[in-house]
């Protein structure tokens, strides 16, 4: 083993030689003694020794040296962590402005040796210093150096070291337990322990103060420090899509930067002071150094990392859960909104529809009112003409053919255009070539016999004159017939309009629905001549309603069914009681069915001159049915396919709001 080294820097060569001589004498040559006049060189040599892991027991310095003065040299030695045990001694007199105070303040100086030293006192000082050195940094040299040491103080040092060791091992036990069973030491205890350890190992490292809102570290920075919060609160956040999102505030913990530092990643969260914050700020090297020297600190750090990971993990799970819940809520909100939109659109449609119906109702009522009188007058006038014109023609024998032609044309059943064409052909073949068959047919002549009969009324009449009478008489007859038909249709339309718009009939109690159906079937008997009608009348209670309007509903539904079913069709009428307070009427036919594209519109009014006669008569008929049924608080629905169409009416026994 190389002997321990003593370095000495001083300009006074004689003094140094004297010192070396005394040390040699005292120690019996136990030390290697090296001398310098340059502080910088001494520092360089000290570092070499440290690297070579040789023992540097003491450094003596004069104040005035080359390049670096003695005070700075001693301070530099003190700063070398591996040379902490090395005794730093001033070999100089103290005078004003000599920086001795500064040295003492820095803790850089262990003792001073006067240049004018007394050998006995120097020996005592050397003994004390060497003893301290061995205790602190070189216990392995005790065997070799013990004659030079102060054994009494060695003893007490060992005693206190043992008790320290015991304490330390107790604390280690505690820490080990706390690492495994994290509850035994509170966060505060751990933090306090860590602060104590760092203070102790690093000689009171830097404390820094941050103002509220101040950013302590920014995400993406290189991780180089940890912060142990002594006072105040922080929050951790990241910038997401240009917005700062806070991830941890309660869960931030008291130690910041540890995760990034331990993972050696760039800083993950930015940290902002919430209140004024005072923190211990430690560099990576400081932490590493402290850990290497204190297993307790390492344990504390592991505990802190574990707890912080657990805490943040819990927080992450919370955040994830929250995101999940938010997503679910968003989805539900979206669905709700969609449903609301649909409802709104449906409501709007209904509103428009009911607005339209209201407008139509007003219009229809006005029209019905205005048309009522002229139509009535027209029907009367037609009736008068039907009496007066034949009367007029009958007053003279000369016009007998015209009068007869008028009657013929009036009574002539309307022909289809197809039948009309074949009739023309037939007449053309059997009549005289000079007679225009098509004009005769247009005038209402339906057979050769018809013509012969007219001809016989005035056998003396010339052909042309006869033809003229037939044509004119026939035209008058068919015109009268057309006026009669048309005014009847208009009158019926006016009645429909009145029904559709607003009823002027009154509410009646005790209406027998089966009876109203029977009445209608009686009226429609001629139209149903070619149909089979099957009736399933249930035992129905009477209800409150407007009988004439209900009859109108049955009329429309049965007429539609009959028209749809063609000839030899089958109509089925079924009435049943439904629950305690409703009745149900079904009118079914086996006709061709309502085309799919027409189905959504059949209850909407369509004004057409062919009202009641287009296709299967969907003019005002069904809208009236719907209006009447709804006025009675009921509903009307249908199902239709080729071969089976059913209209279903459900009526309450007491309509919810029937006017008196």
């Amino acid at each position: 083993m190389t002997p321990p080294t003593i370095l000495c820097a001083h300009r006074d060569d004689a003094l140094v030689s004297r010192l070396e001589e005394e040390i040699d004498h005292w120690s019996g040559g136990a030390f290697r003694f090296e001398r310098f006049t340059d502080g910088g060189r001494l520092i360089g040599r000290a570092r070499e020794l440290r690297k070579a892991e040789e023992d540097l027991a003491m450094v003596f310095c004069g104040l005035d040296l080359e390049t670096i003065d003695g005070a700075s040299t001693l301070i530099a030695i003190r700063e070398e962590p591996q040379l902490r045990g090395t005794r730093r001694l001033l070999l100089d007199a103290i005078h004003g402005g000599c920086r001795a105070d500064e040295l003492l303040q820095h803790g850089a100086l262990h003792a001073r040796v006067d240049p004018d030293f007394d050998p006995e006192r120097l020996h005592a000082l050397l003994r004390t210093q060497l003893t301290d050195y061995v205790i602190q940094a070189a216990p392995h040299r005790i065997d070799e150096l013990h004659p030079l040491l102060d054994l009494r103080s060695m003893g007490s040092a060992f005693l206190s070291a043992r008790s320290n060791l015991e304490q330390l091992s107790a604390r280690l036990d505690q820490v080990q337990t706390s690492v495994i069973d994290g509850t035994s030491m509170s966060d505060d205890q751990i933090e306090t322990t860590m602060i104590e350890e760092f203070d102790d190992l690093l000689d009171q490292p830097e404390r820094r103060t941050y103002a509220p809102e101040e950013i302590m570290v920014h995400e993406g920075d290189e991780a180089g420090h940890i912060w142990i919060l002594l006072e105040g609160r922080v929050k951790l956040f990241r910038c997401l899509d240009g917005k700062n999102v806070t991830f941890h505030s309660e869960s931030a913990g008291r130690i910041v930067g540890l995760m990034s530092l331990s993972l050696q990643n760039p800083v993950f969260f930015s940290c902002r002071a919430v209140t004024e914050v005072r923190a211990l700020v430690l560099s990576r090297d400081q932490v590493r150094d402290a850990i290497s020297r204190s297993p307790l600190l390492a344990s504390c750090l592991i505990t802190v990392i574990l707890r912080s990971m657990a805490r943040r993990n819990r927080r992450a799970v919370q955040l994830l859960t929250k995101v999940h819940q938010l997503n679910a809520r968003l989805e539900k909100q979206r669905d709700d909104l969609e449903a609301a939109l649909n409802d709104l659109q449906a409501a709007q449609k209904r509103l428009i529809e009911s607005e339209k119906m209201a407008t139509l109702g007003t219009l229809a009522a006005g029209m019905a009112h205005e048309l009522n009188n002229p139509v009535a007058a027209m029907q009367n006038a037609t009736r008068y003409l039907l009496e007066d014109i034949p009367g007029l023609l009958g007053s003279t024998r000369d016009l007998a053919p015209a009068a007869a032609a008028l009657d013929l044309a009036r009574e002539a059943a309307p022909l289809s255009t197809r039948d009309e064409r074949s009739l023309k052909r037939e007449l053309g073949q059997s009549l005289d070539q000079t007679l225009p068959a098509d004009r005769l047919v247009a005038a209402g002549i339906r057979s050769v016999e018809d013509f012969r009969k007219l001809e016989k009324l005035d056998p003396g009449l010339k052909r042309d004159a006869l033809l003229q009478q037939i044509e004119n008489g026939g035209q008058v007859g068919s015109s009268l017939r057309n006026i009669e038909n048309c005014s009847t249709r208009i009158a019926a339309l006016v009645r429909s309009l009145k029904l559709y718009a607003r009823a002027d009939e009154s509410w009646t109690d005790g209406v027998d629905l089966n009876a109203t159906l029977e009445d209608v079937l009686a009226i429609l008997r001629s139209k149903l001549r070619d149909h089979e009608v099957i009736k399933h009348y249930g035992d129905l209670p009477t209800l409150r309603g407007i009988p004439s309007q209900l009859q109108q509903v049955w009329t429309n539904l049965i007429q539609n069914a009959a028209q749809a079913a063609d000839e030899n069709g089958r109509l089925t009428i079924t009435t049943t009681r439904e629950g305690d307070d409703q009745v149900r009427i079904e009118i079914e036919d086996n006709g061709r069915g309502i085309p799919d594209d027409a189905q959504p519109h059949i209850f909407s009014p369509r004004f057409t001159t062919k009202s009641g006669r287009v296709e299967f008569g969907l003019g005002l008929g069904l809208p009236i049915c719907k209006t009447v049924v709804e006025r009675h608080g009921g509903r009307i629905t249908f199902q239709s396919e080729p071969g089976r169409t059913v209209f279903m009416v459900v009526l309450p026994l007491i309509p919810p709001k029937s006017e008196p």
């Binding site: 289809s416 064409r421 048309c486």
Partner: protein, 164 residues
């Protein structure tokens, strides 16, 4: 016999009779036929042609049970044989879309709105039939001078047969 026919298509019997009556000025020189729907009109058309006659003018309602009048005119216009037939829509119910289609695709020559005035209808029919006679290479205009637009027909006669 080679008569020229007027074919009207109208589903309401009263209206059909009114049209028939309004067409009386033409009954001495023209064959007048009526149909109540498009299917029937095809039948009437076939019968007219079977008899050796030809249709010179069609007077069609638009809204009919089954196919519409515009459908029929469009089809007729496109079949090649009946392009020369004069086509008149007599209706109160065709909307703008139908009318545009009738003109662009149905080769419609005239549109008469219901209700109509007899004189106006007679004038339209006279003008259209005159046009038909003038355009046909193989029809002698002479018999129609009294019933149709005499001066225009006479002008054609004075120029003599066209030599292409």
């Amino acid at each position: 016999m080679n008569a020229i026919a007027i074919l009207s298509i109208e589903d309401e019997p009263e209206v059909r009779e009114a049209i028939r009556r309004d067409l009386r000025p033409f009954e001495t020189k023209f064959r007048i036929e009526a149909a109540e729907d498009v299917a029937d009109a095809r039948e009437a058309l076939a019968q007219i042609e079977d008899d050796g006659d030809r249709v010179g003018l069609i007077l069609a309602d638009h809204r009919l049970p089954g196919e519409t009048g515009v459908d029929f005119l469009t089809q007729l216009h496109g079949d090649g044989e009946h392009a020369a037939v004069r086509k008149v829509l007599l209706t109160g119910q065709a909307d703008q879309q139908d009318t545009i289609r009738a003109i662009n695709e149905g080769g419609l020559h005239h549109y008469v709105a219901k209700p109509w005035q007899a004189e106006a209808l007679v004038k339209v029919v006279r003008d259209e039939l005159t046009e038909y006679v003038l355009r046909a290479e193989d029809i002698d205009p002479m018999p129609y001078v009294a019933v149709l637009d005499g001066p225009r027909l006479l002008e054609k006669i004075s120029r003599g047969p066209r030599i292409d």
